[in-house]
């Protein structure tokens, strides 16, 4: 058996925690710019950011590219650029701002709960480790 790596033991949760915290910043930025003319609301593409931070095994089964003209599915998200995507506005506004404060608040609340869930998972993993170390 391979030696225990704390990183591998903690799994996806430590990476997820980072992404949730980044998403919190993006949502806070949307709320701060709720009255800025022409500001376009953004959100984090969770899957691509988590994959980029090395926390996902989404690339475990890549499509084989056997010909030069085949599209590389792995770099598809990289080709579209940033992991930040713009929100599709529900209704147009006179000043070109696409922030919906209610939607952003809901997303922020959801993000908070997910952050707390990831924290709980991590905390339990540490407790498990402590049980193993102290043998009680």
């Amino acid at each position: 058996m391979s030696p225990l790596s704390i990183d591998a033991y903690l799994g996806v949760h430590s990476h997820a925690l980072q992404v949730y915290s980044q998403r919190g910043e993006v949502l806070a930025n949307n709320l701060a710019n709720a009255d800025t003319p022409n500001y376009k609301a953004q959100d984090v593409d969770f899957r691509s950011v988590l994959a980029a931070s090395g926390g996902s095994n989404a690339s475990a089964l890549p499509l084989a590219t056997t010909h030069g003209t085949h599209l590389n599915t792995q770099s598809a998200s990289a080709a579209t650029g940033s992991a930040l995507k713009y929100r599709v506005p529900l209704a147009p506004s006179l000043d070109g701002n696409t922030v919906d404060p209610q939607l952003e608040q809901a997303a922020f609340a959801e993000n908070t709960v997910r952050y707390q869930a990831a924290l709980t998972f991590l905390s339990d993993k540490f407790k498990t480790l402590m049980t193993a170390i102290t043998g009680q």
Binding site: S21, E25, A52, S82, A83, L122
Partner: protein, 141 residues
């Protein structure tokens, strides 16, 4: 540490909204400051917000450090001053007219409510982020 940036962002929102509240207070306080000269009469002031662009680095996944909102400037309204015939007023001009500021009190009140709600939103974001950070500090205990 990157996660403290959320406080900067919410803080910039608080600062911007309080500038907006200040201009509302100034406009409402001067709503009745008449003058005998349309050039010197008080003009309604409004802040203009601008976004400091947030861009995730293509793969690093870290938002640009200066993601926030800032007050780009304060503009004065170009709407014409309201003319009022009031010969008894000591400030009246030769024709007995005084000029009232172009402040729309109803617009200012709705602006105040909007600014107040946005301010409360930013405070909530700050409080929630603070709670999360405190919970993170207690991780593993």
């Amino acid at each position: 540490m990157s996660s403290f940036k959320v406080f900067d962002i919410a803080g910039s929102g608080l600062a911007a909204q309080s500038v907006r509240l200040n201009t509302v207070a100034s406009n409402l306080a001067n709503a009745d400051s008449v003058s005998g000269d349309p050039a010197t009469v008080y003009k309604a002031r409004h802040p203009v917000f601008s976004a400091v662009r947030a861009a995730l680095a293509a793969h690093g996944g870290t938002p640009a450090s200066e993601a926030a909102v800032r007050v780009a400037g304060i503009v004065t309204s170009n709407a014409p001053a309201a003319v009022r015939h009031d010969p008894g007023n000591p400030l009246a001009d030769a024709e007995g007219n005084v000029f009232a500021p172009n402040v729309n009190v109803i617009e200012e009140m709705t602006d105040m409510i909007s600014a107040s709600r946005a301010y409360q939103n930013d405070v909530e974001v700050m409080n929630t982020s603070k709670d999360l950070m405190l919970a993170t500090l207690k991780l593993g205990q």
